[in-house]
């Protein structure tokens, strides 16, 4: 399979350093890093972990300084990839079996999806009944019984949250923001929201599936995912390589090999271990406690990536005003 192919590439004399900025959890990276060391013993691969916002800020600052500190990126969503592509910092890489990719990718090779995050709803099964709670994004914003006790991430700082409000706007219009505002939704980071769910301060939250899954597996948490009846919002996260003009180590060969590896079955196995879904159609295994990827894909709310970039400011502003107005 793919793994042996990669090994072959490796034997063809890769070397040097590769620095990868990623928003994947440190623990996950540690595992992946160990595997990579075996796969590419001659390449010195380093990860820099940061939240999406932190990384984007760091990258922006580095671009303004004239040089990036990395060679590859595994962060944010396709809209961010589109943006970077536009700024001319990415290197096109043609990978071999793109046919196996179940998700959209850049045909010129500037970015490929490498992991799938799903925006879902979650509640505390130890405290509430699923039946008593909203089961759709729509109800989440309109069911008064949870008013004041719901929470979501900040679209200003989180890429996936922005994608979510973009998708929901396309589906329900800007009224959806007003509805959220009326519900007195709390805007906070995922970790805080999860804690609130545990303590019962919140009844239901809008959150990435992987956060819940991880908590369930590691902490035996009773927090449970609700796949919204009006569709899950699926956010593929891209893998990108930086071109020689901007990259830290000018190691395109290695970057290419690493990209191949991540997209391979072997690489995807590691992604799934990190509670995210695989991008390959031939690797259907879902993460711990999740429903199969295909199941999810049956009912999704699509995100228009180009539009998300284009209307970013407008959506953020509208969202903020809607939320702030109903303090």
């Amino acid at each position: 399979g793919g793994a042996s192919e990669v090994k072959a590439t490796n034997d063809s004399g890769l070397s040097g350093k590769v620095m990868i900025y990623t928003s994947m959890y440190d623990d996950v990276i540690e595992a992946i890093d160990n595997t990579l060391e075996e796969v590419f013993p001659t390449v010195d691969i380093e990860f820099f972990y940061g939240g999406t916002g932190t990384l984007q800020a760091k990258i922006a600052a580095e671009i303004s300084a004239g040089k990036l500190g990395c060679d590859m990126l595994m962060v944010a969503d396709p809209s961010y990839a589109l943006e970077l592509k536009g700024q001319g910092v990415l290197e096109p890489i043609m990978v071999k079996d793109t046919g196996k990719l179940a998700f959209e990718y850049d045909k010129e090779g500037y970015w490929y999806p490498v992991r799938i995050s799903n925006m879902v709803l979650a509640y505390n099964a130890g405290k509430y009944n699923k039946a008593d709670l909203p089961n759709s994004f729509y109800d989440f914003a309109n069911d008064k019984s949870v008013a004041g006790m719901i929470s979501m991430s900040n679209p200003l700082t989180s890429g996936t949250a922005l994608d979510t409000i973009s998708a929901l706007k396309d589906k329900y219009g800007y009224e959806y923001y007003t509805a959220l505002g009326n519900q007195k939704v709390k805007i906070e980071s995922g970790s805080v929201a999860l804690t609130k769910l545990e303590t019962g301060e919140c009844k239901e939250i809008m959150i990435l599936e992987e956060s819940v899954l991880q908590k369930r597996e590691l902490d035996n948490s009773k927090i449970t995912v609700i796949y919204p009846t009006d569709g899950t919002i699926v956010v593929p996260s891209p893998i990108m390589s930086i071109n020689d003009k901007w990259s830290a180590n000018k190691n395109i060969e290695a970057a290419k090999a690493i990209t191949e590896w991540f997209l391979s079955e072997e690489g995807q196995k590691n992604i799934v271990k990190a509670w995210m879904h695989s991008v390959r159609s031939d690797y259907p295994e879902p993460p711990y406690d999740a429903i199969p990827t295909a199941e999810i894909r049956k009912n999704t709310i699509p995100v228009d990536w180009a539009n998300t970039v284009a209307l970013r400011e407008e959506m953020r502003t509208k969202f903020q005003e809607a939320i702030a107005a109903k303090k």
């Binding site: 760091k58 004041g148 970790s191 545990e198 902490d219 702030a324």
Partner: protein, 570 residues
């Protein structure tokens, strides 16, 4: 005293014609500040004005006409001012009780009252959130039960709640600064008041308080700037209730991750810098000529105020205060570090030490701790050296432009961490011949820029208390300026130096925002670890780490206290 300071300074002016080590050192320090602080920040501000390539106020217009930003500005001013007022109102009497009276358990309280300073604010904020949220806050529920209330008595997600938490976390700045000054005061000045018929309280109000004014103003400044530029607390306490502050808005802009976002963030950050300096200006203006010498050339006997029959009641009040502000949130943090499910009460089944296990088994934690220790120690030490020199320049000389370093240092503190980090990335990664990106150096510098003011202000207020005649006596004994500084001035302000060092060290030790932007594979810090746990959707591990830090710092402090007889501890 002003006049004496002038006296000294007059001659300083003329000494500069000699190749005096003083001017070399001061020159070095000023150039350091210019290169590593002024230039990056200026560059950032410059970018804000030239966002489109040529000079424009476009960004300013955009940022400052947006109503939400205005709301954030007012919120910041309100919360920072209130925290400042309450912080000083709490810190002053506590400092007095601990420093000048026979309160029971003084030494213990002295350490306890700075404890909140030893945990990262965001961890503490989480604790308060769990205690006082209007839905299921533990304390709220408890009070509801006891007093049979129909609804929760407190809502933490309000301006009031924000001020409460900010005050709880930043009053130690004031406490440390004021208590250090208080302990040095000549007691005969208070005795003169007692004998004039003033009771201890009146004496406190009319003599001690005004004489402590430089320290109080310094303390207020620290609390204000710290509260106004803090991010952790407003983001956790303020945002859920839609209370935006300038810092949360700046972070919003920054994390947009675009060039425009950066510009907007800087543009907004300019406000904080300006505000910090207005406060500095007002404070130096109000105390102006009032620099009171309370350590004179004649030594008087140290004396403490006997609280008499009030001793027990006052101790009781202090205990209650400590319980509410320090103990309860700490216990809450400590307990959550061993709770599996934070939604359930702590029971045997719901208890675990695996979060502790995680922090002690995790590979990188030791090296991160070492990195944090090294960078915090370096930042605190260099920070104090610079603060000390600059404070001397400010208080004891009349050199033209001596206020500029003070101004620069204040700008640094008033700037949100994230902006400092970004400005350093932009300017210190080779574009301008200096490349210290991805080194520990850049972290140390970032920490210094952000926290140096804590040291500077503490030293300035301490220095104004020392009679210049003590330094003159050293000079006339044949000691050069540097030696006088080392042998006389520094030992006399040693408590303030220690306090200042600690005030810089502690926040650097668990610094989060800048660290997460500036760390590299080899320079991970504790702040980075905390950040990971925080976003790792696991408050418990963060709590465990915070508790561990607290315990270690407490232990070291206790040890130093024992070893140095209280000279080198907080």
């Amino acid at each position: 005293m002003r006049s004496s300071a002038n006296k000294v300074s007059n001659l300083m002016e003329h000494q500069k014609w000699f190749l005096d080590p003083k001017w070399i050192i001061i020159g070095l320090i000023v150039s350091f500040l210019l290169i590593f602080q002024v230039f990056p920040l200026l560059y950032l501000v410059f970018r804000a004005f030239f966002s489109t390539g040529k000079f424009s106020l476009e960004a300013f217009k955009r940022v400052y006409t947006y109503p939400l930003n205005w709301e954030a500005l007012t919120n910041t001013l309100i919360t920072a001012s209130l925290s400042m007022v309450f912080g000083v109102l709490i810190a002053f009497p506590l400092a007095w009780l601990v420093g000048r009276t026979n309160l029971y358990g003084k030494k213990f309280f002295r350490t306890l009252f700075v404890a909140t300073y030893m945990v990262p604010p965001y961890v503490g904020a989480m604790a308060w959130m769990r205690l006082l949220n209007p839905n299921v806050g533990t304390l709220n529920v408890f009070l509801q039960k006891i007093f049979n209330l129909s609804s929760a008595p407190f809502d933490i997600y309000t301006i009031g709640g924000l001020v409460w938490v900010l005050t709880g976390f930043y009053y130690p700045y004031a406490f440390i600064t004021i208590s250090r000054a208080m302990e040095k005061m000549d007691p005969s000045l208070e005795e003169a008041s007692r004998i004039s018929g003033a009771n201890p309280l009146t004496t406190l109000r009319t003599i001690t308080l005004p004489m402590m004014l430089p320290s109080i103003v310094a303390a207020a400044l620290l609390v204000f700037v710290a509260a106004a530029s803090s991010y952790g607390i407003p983001s956790i306490i303020g945002l859920p209730g839609q209370i935006h502050t300038v810092t949360t808005r700046i972070i919003d802009f920054v994390y947009i991750g675009s060039q425009e976002g950066l510009t907007d963030a800087t543009t907004l950050a300019v406000f904080l810098m300006v505000i910090a300096n207005i406060v500095l200006y007002i404070s130096t203006f109000t105390i102006g000529k009032k620099q009171y010498i309370t350590v004179s050339g004649k030594s008087t006997r140290p004396n403490i105020v006997d609280l008499g029959k009030w001793r027990i009641p006052i101790t009781a009040v202090v205990v209650i205060f400590a319980l509410i502000v320090v103990i309860i949130p700490f216990i809450s943090v400590a307990l959550s570090s061993i709770t599996v499910n934070l939604g359930e009460p702590l029971s045997k089944a719901n208890m675990t030490f695996r979060y502790w296990e995680r922090i002690v088994t995790r590979k990188s934690i030791l090296s991160s701790a070492r990195n944090s220790l090294v960078s915090a120690v370096l930042a605190a030490t260099f920070g104090m050296i610079i603060s000390g020199m600059m404070a001397y320049l400010l208080v004891r000389t009349k050199v033209k432009g001596r206020k500029i370093p003070d101004f620069m240092i204040t700008v640094g503190s008033g700037t949100p961490s994230v902006v400092i980090a970004l400005s350093l990335i932009m300017t210190m990664s080779g574009k301008f011949k200096i490349n210290i990106y991805n080194t520990l150096t850049i972290m140390v510098i970032a920490y210094m820029i952000k926290y140096m003011m804590m040291g500077m202000r503490t030293v300035v207020s301490a220095l104004t208390q020392i009679s210049p005649s003590l330094e003159e006596a050293s000079q006339i004994s044949g000691a050069s300026w540097l030696k006088s500084l080392k042998n006389v001035t520094l030992p006399l302000i040693a408590p303030a130096l220690v306090a200042g060092w600690f005030l810089i060290f502690m926040p650097c030790f668990y610094e989060l925002t800048m660290s997460t932007l500036l760390y590299s594979a080899n320079t991970k810090t504790l702040g980075y670890e905390l950040f990971t746990y925080q976003t790792y959707h696991n408050q418990q591990t963060a709590s465990a780490l915070a508790t561990a830090i607290l315990v270690v710092v407490f232990f070291i402090n206790w040890l130093l206290n024992k070893l140095t007889d209280g000279e080198f501890s907080i």
